[in-house]
Symmetry: D2
Subunit: 352 residues, 4 copies
C-alpha cells in the first residue's frame, strides 16, 4: 500500500483527493493536513466522509509528514510547496504539487504572472510537468511532479495534437474556457456566494489569467520552439464562471495551415490519443458536454472544421476536480509508483 | 459473475443501475433493455457511457432475457413487470422490480392509488418488500423483490425505529418530503423542463401521492397492526420538487407518546441501525443534507425533540437514484446472491 | 415625493428596497446607508444599478438621516434599530424596521430567542406589526412599523383565516418552510457558498428558529388568546434551505376541528382575502409554486383537505425579498403615507 | 393606447411580451394568440399571470387580429409570419416579427441556413432590421420590423463600433456566446429537461448556427461592404447552453488593425453608445455579467486590449428575453409609434 499524505485536504481539490484515495486499492491516506482545521475531525468539515474517515486534521509539517508518507500531495495555495520543500523531504517522499509552484520552468514568467518571488527555483529544473498523457515517461522518474491546472489540462490536451502536427497557426489560438464554481475554491469570498454565482455567467481574468503562461509553455514545446530561450506561442485565454459545481469546457479556435483539413485533424487526434484510456475522442462534429464526464477522470474531445473561415473549432471537457486536479494527481501517483495508470480511477461518470 | 439484465435501462434509475453494475466486481450486464431505443447504441443515449458500454439497446422480452440472466431488474413504469412476469421466468431468474407492482400486498390498495388493474395479483403474496435493512432475511429467499420507492425508503427508514418501539403516536405522523428532479424521470413533459423547475419549489400530489400507502403499509407492520385485515396507520405525506438533480430529504413530524424522550429516540435509532453500513446516524440535533450522500448508497438520519410541543422532528436524506432506486436494487441483488451487502456499493459520496 | 432613507442598503433586502423605490412614482431615495461601504459608489457594490444610482454609500447616522427623510428603512441586523432609535428621530421620520427588534411584544420572548438584551423596550408598546393585510389600520397611525420576517409573512398569512375562524386545532400546527438562499443574506460565510448550497437541500434551526415566536404571537392574537399574559399557541416551524435565489414556500399542516371541512376552509380564505390585491387564492387542490410570484409582491395560497387524516394542508408562496421584506416595507410605507397600497408595487412576476 | 396583438404568446418570448406590455403605460394587449392553447385561459398556462390576465388564448388568425390591433407581434417559429403576412394586414397594423423571417435580406442566405423556402420574399426589401440603436430611423417608418435574434443583438452591438470605425480586422472575428436555457424555448424536448441542462455546459450548432448569417450581414453593412452583391464578413460564432434561465453573454475576439489601441476602442464605443439609454459602457478592463441585466432591457459592454496578442476582447451581456427578444420588440413598437424609446422599459435589473 502506498502511504499518502495530503497537505490542504480541506479545499475542494484536497477533498476530492480524499474521495479518490479512499477508493484506491493500492493507497491509504496517512495524513489529512489542513492548517485551518487542525485537530478537528475531518468528517466534521466534510460530512460526506462521516463514518468513512475517523482522522483529525493535521498541520502542514511536511518534514514530519515525509517520514510517514511515500507520496505527499500539496493541494495548497501558490507558494506553500515551494516554501517547504527540501532535500530531506524529497529523499523520503515523492511530491505531487497541485499548486503552480513548479509548473513554469522560467522563474521570471512565474514571478511576473503570480506576483510573488519563487522560494525554491533550484528545484524548477528537475520538476516534471505532470500532464500524464504527454509526459508519462519523465513523470515516472520524477521526484517533484507539478500537477497541471484545470484549465490548462483541458486546453493543452485539446490543442496538443494540432500544434504538434503543425496543423494550425499557433499565433491564432484563442481559448474560451468555462468552469464550474468549485474551481474558485472554498474561500469565503463575496463572489463565491450562491446568490452571486447562480443565474449568471461572467468572464474574469481576461488577458491576465495565470493559466495562460502554463498553456503557452506546453504548447510551445509541442511546436518545437525554444521556450527556455524566450520563444513562445502567445494565446488568448478567457475563463468564464458557470453556475454549476463541476466541469470545465474549453472551446478552442485556430486557423488551419494550408493543406490541413478535417481529415488531418482527425488523424492527429487519433495518433496521439487513440490508445489513451482517459481521453475519449468524440469525432468530427460531435462536441463534449461537461455532464458526461462528471465525477470521472475522462477528457472528452470533439471538433469541427469550418471551411467558410478556415478555422478548426475544437473543444475539450473534463471534471475540474478529477482530471483537472485530484484525478490527474492520482494518475501521476500511479505512474510514479509503477501501477497501471487507471488504478482506482475507473470511475464511471455520474449522470445526472 | 452474476449475469444481470435491465429492462428500462434508459430511464434515470435504469442508467444508474448501469453505472453501479459496471463498477460491481461480481456482476456483469447482459441486456440493456429499452423499448424506446431498440437497436441504438446505449452510449449514444447516455454519452457518459461512451467507450464504457458498447452494447445496443434491446427490447423488453423478459422471457428471452431470463434465459441469459441470473437476475432481471425492471426499471419500468407501473404495470409492465406485472404484465410480463410468469413462472418460467421466475424459475430461471430472480426479479427485482423497481416499479410499484409488487410493493403493496393488498391489491385493492394498489388499484385504488394507481388507478389500474393489477395483472399478476397471484404473485403478490410471495413478493418481498425489498427494504434491505428491515427485510433482509426474507429478501434472501425471495424470487420477486419489490424494490421500494425513493420517498418511501427515506420516510420508512427515518420513522421505523420510532414506530417499532412505540415511541410516537402513529396517528400524528406527517412527512414533508423534498426531491431532486431526477425523481420525475426522463419523460419529455413540460413540468420537467429546465426553466420550469429551476428557481422554484412546489408541492405536488398533496394527499394523493402513490407513495403514501406504501409508507402506511410498512409502518403498520412496524406498529404490529393487522394490515391485511384493514388496520392501518394513516399519514400525511407531501412531496415537493426541488431544483437539483439528485437527493431526497424527508422531514418527519410526530407526537411523542408519554414517557418518550430524546434519549429513548436516540436509543431506538441505535438499536436498529447502529450496525447498518448504509445508515449513518448523525445524532440528536444534527440534521442531514442531501449533498452529503450524493452518489452513494447512504441514508443519513438526524432528529431533535421539541419539548415545547412534545414532538420529535426526524429527517432522513439519501440519493434518490442510489439508495432510493438502483443502489438499493443492487443491495437486494447482493443479499439475494449471498454476497456481502455492500459489494460494489462502497461509493464515497461525491461533493461538491 | 416621499423622501426615503435606507440603513443597510447593501444587503439583499436593502438592495431590493432600492430596486422597488427607484420604480416608485411617489418616493425618492435620499440616503443609501451602508456601514461596510461608506464612500463607495452604490453602483460599484450592485452593478445592476450602474447608471441608475449615482450616489455613494453613507454611514448609519440615523439622527442626521431623519433630518432629510420622511421615512427611514432599517434593513440591518437585529439590535441596530433598537440601539439608534429615539424620540427626536421619531418626531421627524417614520421608521420601518426590517429587523426583528420591534416584532415581538414581549421583551422576554425577544431576549430568549435572540439571545440579546433589547435596547429600546420602551418603544415596543407603540410599535405596530406591519403585516399589512391584517394590521392595516394600526399601521396607518404608527411611528414605528415592525416589518414582518419572510418566513413569518408566508406562514401567518397562510394560516390566519383558519385560526381566526376556529377551523383548526392550533395545537396541531406544523409549518414546514422552504426558502431560497437570498434569505441567508449577503454575508461571506461558508454555508452560503455556491458549491455548499447548490445541489442540496437541508433543514436548519429545527425547533429553534427565531421566526417561531413571531408566528406564535400573531396566530395567538388571531385565536383570541391573551398572549401578553402568557397564553400562546405553540407551533413546530422547520425552515429549509433550497438551491434557488428567491422564494419561500410554507407548507402548513393542522387538524381540522369537528365540523370544519373543505368548504369552510375555502370560505374562510375568501372572507379575509378575496379583496386583497396582493393575496391570490388558488382554490382547493391547487398549490402555489415560488416561480409564479418571483419579483412580485404577491402571496399565492392554496390548500386541500385530507379526509383520510382529518387535516388541512395549506401552502403559501411569496418572494422573500419582496412581500417577505422590501415589498411589504414599501406597502407599509404606502399605507403610512396614505397612498394606494399597491403604488409602485404592481410588479408582474418574472418568469422564467 | 396602442392596441397590441401577440401571436405565439405562450412561448417564453411571447410571455415576456405579455409581462412587458402589461406594465406599459401606452399599450394594451387585445389578443393572446396561441395555437396550442386556444380557448384555454392564459393564466392557466402562465400562472404568474393569475388575476392579472383574464383572457383566453386565441388562434393565429392574423387577418382578424389586424382589424383589432395597431401592432402585431409574431413570436412564432420561422415561417409562420411569412406565410400569413399580406397587404391587407399591413395596411391596418404594424408587424413586429420576432422570428427570422425578415431578418436576412438575401433570400438565398435564408433558405440555405434555415432549410426552408421563404413564402413572402416580396416583403424582404421593405422590412427593416429592428436593431434599435443602429436602425432607429428606418424603424420609425417601417411596416414590417424584423426583431433581431438574441445572440445577434448581443454580438452585433458588442462589435458594431469596432467594425464601423475600422479598428479591427473583420476576418478575425470570433464570437463565443453563452445563453441561458429560456433561449431554447418551451418545447418539450429531451435536451431541455432540467436534469439534462443542469450542472453542465455545452457548445451546440458549432459553425452552423442560424444566427451566424444575421451577424455577418449586419457587420458587413457596418464595414461598408456591398453585402447584397455577395461581399460579406465571415465570422465564427459558437453558442453554448448555460444552466441558468436567462441571460446571454457574447465574448468577442478580433485582431486590432495597425494603429488601433485601447484608447481608440474606448472612443469608438463612446461615439456610438454614450447617449444610448439601454447600452451601459463599463469601460476598459471591466466585463459584463448576465446577473446585472436580468429582467431589464440593458446591454452591458466591456472590453480589454491584449497587447501581447494584438487582440481586443470585448463582451456584451443582456437578458435574452428582454433586449434579446420582447424588450427590443417593445422598444421597436415605441419607435414605431413615436413614443420615447424607453417608455415602459425603465425596468431596474432584478438581483439576485
Amino acid at each position: 500500500m502506498i502511504k499518502a499524505g495530503i497537505i490542504g485536504s480541506t479545499g475542494y481539490a484536497g477533498a476530492e483527493l480524499v474521495r479518490l484515495l479512499l477508493q484506491h486499492p493500492e493507497a491509504e491516506i496517512v495524513w489529512y493536513g489542513s492548517k485551518s482545521y487542525v485537530d478537528q475531525k475531518y468528517a466534521d468539515v466534510y460530512r460526506n466522509m462521516f463514518e468513512l474517515v475517523d482522522e483529525k486534521c493535521m498541520n502542514d509539517n511536511m518534514d514530519e509528514l515525509s517520514e510517514r508518507a511515500d507520496v505527499i500531495f500539496t493541494a495548497t495555495p501558490q507558494g506553500l510547496c515551494a516554501s517547504l520543500i527540501n532535500e530531506r523531504i524529497l529523499e523520503r517522499s515523492k511530491v505531487i504539487d497541485l499548486s503552480a509552484d513548479f509548473r513554469l520552468k522560467r522563474v521570471g514568467v512565474y514571478e511576473e504572472w503570480y506576483h510573488r518571488t519563487h522560494e525554491a527555483p533550484e528545484y524548477l529544473p528537475e520538476a516534471v510537468y505532470g500532464l500524464c498523457e504527454i509526459n508519462r515517461e519523465s513523470i515516472a522518474a520524477a521526484r517533484i511532479i507539478a500537477n497541471p491546472g484545470c484549465y490548462t489540462t483541458t486546453s493543452i490536451l485539446t490543442l496538443y495534437p494540432l500544434v504538434k502536427e503543425g496543423l494550425i497557426d499557433p499565433d491564432t489560438i484563442i481559448i474560451d474556457a468555462k468552469s464550474g464554481t468549485s474551481g474558485a475554491g472554498r474561500g469565503t469570498k463575496l463572489p463565491n456566494l450562491y446568490c452571486e454565482v447562480n443565474e449568471s455567467i461572467k468572464p474574469y481574468g481576461v488577458a491576465t489569467h495565470r493559466h495562460t503562461p502554463e498553456i503557452e509553455e506546453q504548447l510551445s514545446y509541442a511546436a518545437g520552439m525554444d521556450y527556455m530561450s524566450g520563444d513562445s506561442i502567445k494565446v488568448n485565454f478567457t475563463p468564464h464562471l458557470v453556475p454549476m459545481n463541476r466541469g470545465i469546457l474549453a472551446t478552442c479556435y485556430a486557423s488551419l495551415r494550408d493543406g490541413a483539413d478535417a481529415g488531418a485533424v482527425g488523424e492527429a487526434y487519433s495518433k496521439y490519443y487513440k490508445e489513451e484510456y482517459f481521453i475519449r475522442l468524440l469525432g468530427e462534429g460531435s462536441f463534449p458536454e461537461t455532464r458526461w464526464v462528471e465525477g470521472s477522470n475522462f477528457v472528452d474531445i470533439g471538433y469541427t472544421v469550418d471551411t467558410r473561415t478556415g478555422r478548426v473549432i475544437a473543444a475539450g471537457a473534463l471534471d475540474n476536480l478529477v482530471k483537472g486536479a485530484a484525478g490527474q494527481a492520482v494518475q501521476n501517483m500511479n505512474i510514479s509508483f509503477g501501477l497501471p495508470e487507471n488504478t482506482g480511477l475507473k470511475l464511471v461518470p455520474v449522470f445526472p
